[in-house]
C-alpha cells in the first residue's frame, strides 16, 4: 500500500521565479532574498523526506488552458511536464531552461481511475500539459534540477467564476488520500498544494497586502481547517484580494493528511504584491 508521508503548502507568483533566476546570478532583489533564506529549511526537509512521488494541486493562469475549454479540475498524465511560455519565453532567461518535471503515467492513471470511478471527481485528463509559474516559480527554491521525484499535477480553475467551492477542494484532498492508499505500489507520496496568499493584481486594490490574514491562515490550517473552509470564498477575496481565493487550494493538501501530522516548518513574508508563505507537515512514520 502506498502512503502519504507529508504535505507542503507553498505560494507561487511569477516574480518569485524571476527573482530566483536573478539570485542565481548573484543579483538577489532585497525584497526576495528573505524568501530564499526562508525556504532553505524546506529544501533540506524535502531532501531528507525523499518522496517517491509528488501529487501537486496547483492553478494555471491561462498559460496552458484557454477559454476554449477551461477545466474545473484537470489531471496531467504524461511522461514530462515542460514549462509553459507565459509571454516571456522559458526560464531562466538566457538559458539553459529548467528541464521538464517528470511524470509517471502508471501512477497517474491509477490515481485518475480512483478519483473518477470511486470518488466521483469529473477530471479532465491531459496527456499534454505545460506548467506555468504555479509550479515552476517555487520549485527551484525547494529542489535542484533534475527534479527529485515524478509529479502528478492536478490543475484547479481559479481564473474565472464559478471556481470550485472550498469544500470541494477539501473533498479532493481527502479523495487523493484514499486514492494513494488504494495504490498497489509501496510509494511514499508527498502532497503539495500551491496558491498565492493574499494578493490582487488588477483594479485600484492592486497590491493589497494583508499579512495578518496570511498569518491567520497558516496558524489555523493544521488544527482548525473547518473554520477556514467555512469562511465564504468572497470573504477571503474581500479581505486578502481576489487572488487570495487560491488559498482554497491548500485545503486539498491539508485534507490529504491525517490529524496525527507534525507541523515541521512555517514561514511567511510579503516581498511585493503577493503574500508568500510555506508550511510543511509530516506524517508519523
Amino acid at each position: 500500500m502506498a502512503r502519504i508521508v507529508g504535505g507542503l503548502g507553498i505560494s507561487h507568483t511569477p516574480s518569485m521565479g524571476l527573482a530566483f533566476d536573478a539570485g542565481m546570478k548573484g543579483e538577489w532583489e532585497p525584497a526576495w532574498k528573505p524568501w530564499f533564506d526562508g525556504t532553505r529549511p524546506v529544501k533540506e526537509w524535502l531532501a531528507d523526506l525523499a518522496p517517491d512521488h509528488i501529487v501537486c494541486v496547483y492553478n494555471d493562469h491561462l498559460n496552458h488552458f484557454t477559454f476554449e475549454a477551461y477545466p474545473t479540475f484537470a489531471i496531467g498524465v504524461a511522461d514530462a511536464f515542460p514549462q509553459a511560455d507565459e509571454g516571456w519565453g522559458p526560464r531562466p532567461a538566457g538559458g539553459p531552461p529548467f528541464p521538464p518535471v517528470p511524470g509517471d503515467t502508471d501512477f497517474a492513471w491509477a490515481l485518475t481511475e480512483h478519483l473518477i470511478r470511486t470518488e466521483s471527481f469529473d477530471l479532465t485528463v491531459c496527456q499534454e500539459l505545460a506548467l506555468d509559474h504555479g509550479v515552476y516559480s517555487w520549485l527551484p527554491y525547494i529542489a535542484d534540477a533534475p527534479w527529485p521525484a515524478p509529479m502528478t499535477p492536478i490543475a484547479v480553475n481559479m481564473i474565472r467564476h464559478p471556481i470550485p467551492t472550498a469544500q470541494r477542494l477539501r473533498d479532493l484532498g481527502a479523495a487523493i488520500r484514499r486514492a494513494v492508499e488504494n495504490l498497489e505500489s509501496d510509494a511514499r507520496v508527498l502532497v503539495i498544494a500551491t496558491g498565492g496568499m493574499s494578493h490582487q493584481i488588477s483594479g485600484t486594490r492592486f497590491g493589497i497586502a494583508n499579512e495578518d490574514l496570511d498569518r491567520y491562515f497558516l496558524a489555523n490550517l493544521k488544527d482548525n481547517m473547518p473554520a477556514l473552509v467555512d469562511l465564504p470564498q468572497t470573504e477571503w477575496m474581500r479581505l486578502g484580494g481576489t487572488e487570495a481565493a487560491e488559498l482554497g487550494i491548500w485545503f486539498a493538501m491539508r485534507a490529504a493528511l491525517s490529524d496525527r501530522i507534525d507541523e515541521i516548518y512555517r514561514y511567511q513574508v510579503f516581498p511585493k504584491i503577493t503574500g508568500c508563505g510555506v508550511i510543511a507537515f509530516q506524517e508519523p512514520s
Binding site: T66, E68, E86, A209, N210, D212, L213, L239
Partner: protein
C-alpha cells in the same frame, strides 16, 4: 488618470466593487472571448514577433471589434479589462510589449508603474471575525 479611479494613495478597501475590483465572471469571459483568444495567442514566440511587426495585420486574424482593436492600440489596460479581457490574458499582451503587471495596475489605479511599484506592498490588516 481614468475618471473613475480612486486616488492611488488611499489604502485599498475591503470590498469587491469596481473600480477597486473587477471580478471575473462567466459573462465577462463571454464578452471578452475574442479579445482573450487574441491576447493568449501571444504565448507563442512566432505570434509575438508577428504582432510586433504589424499590429493591425495580426489583429485582423482574430475577429476583434473596432472598439477592441482601438483599446489595444491605445494600450488602454483598464478599458481592456472592462471589455472582458482577463488580467492573465492581457498580461501576455503587456509582456509582448516589454511591459508587466505594474503597467496594467498603474493604469487601473491612475498612477505610473514606478510609483505603483514603490507603493507596494500596500499593507492592510483584517482577519475574519469569529462567529
Amino acid at each position: 488618470m481614468p475618471a473613475d479611479a480612486t486616488p492611488p494613495l488611499q489604502s485599498p478597501g475591503f470590498d469587491l466593487d469596481e473600480p477597486g475590483t473587477y471580478l471575473y465572471s462567466g459573462r465577462a469571459s463571454t464578452r471578452g472571448f475574442r479579445l482573450n483568444r487574441f491576447a493568449l495567442s501571444l504565448t507563442k514566440p512566432a505570434n509575438r514577433e508577428a504582432f510586433l511587426a504589424d499590429e493591425a495585420a495580426y489583429m485582423a486574424g482574430y475577429d476583434l471589434s473596432e472598439d477592441e482593436t482601438a483599446l489595444v492600440r491605445a494600450r488602454d489596460w483598464t478599458g481592456l479589462l472592462k471589455a472582458g479581457g482577463h488580467l492573465q490574458a492581457i498580461l501576455k499582451l503587456a509582456a509582448t510589449l516589454g511591459l508587466n503587471l505594474y503597467h496594467i495596475g498603474a493604469h487601473n489605479t491612475g498612477t505610473d508603474a514606478d510609483s505603483l511599484y514603490a507603493m507596494c506592498p500596500r499593507g492592510v490588516s483584517a482577519t475574519p471575525e469569529p462567529e
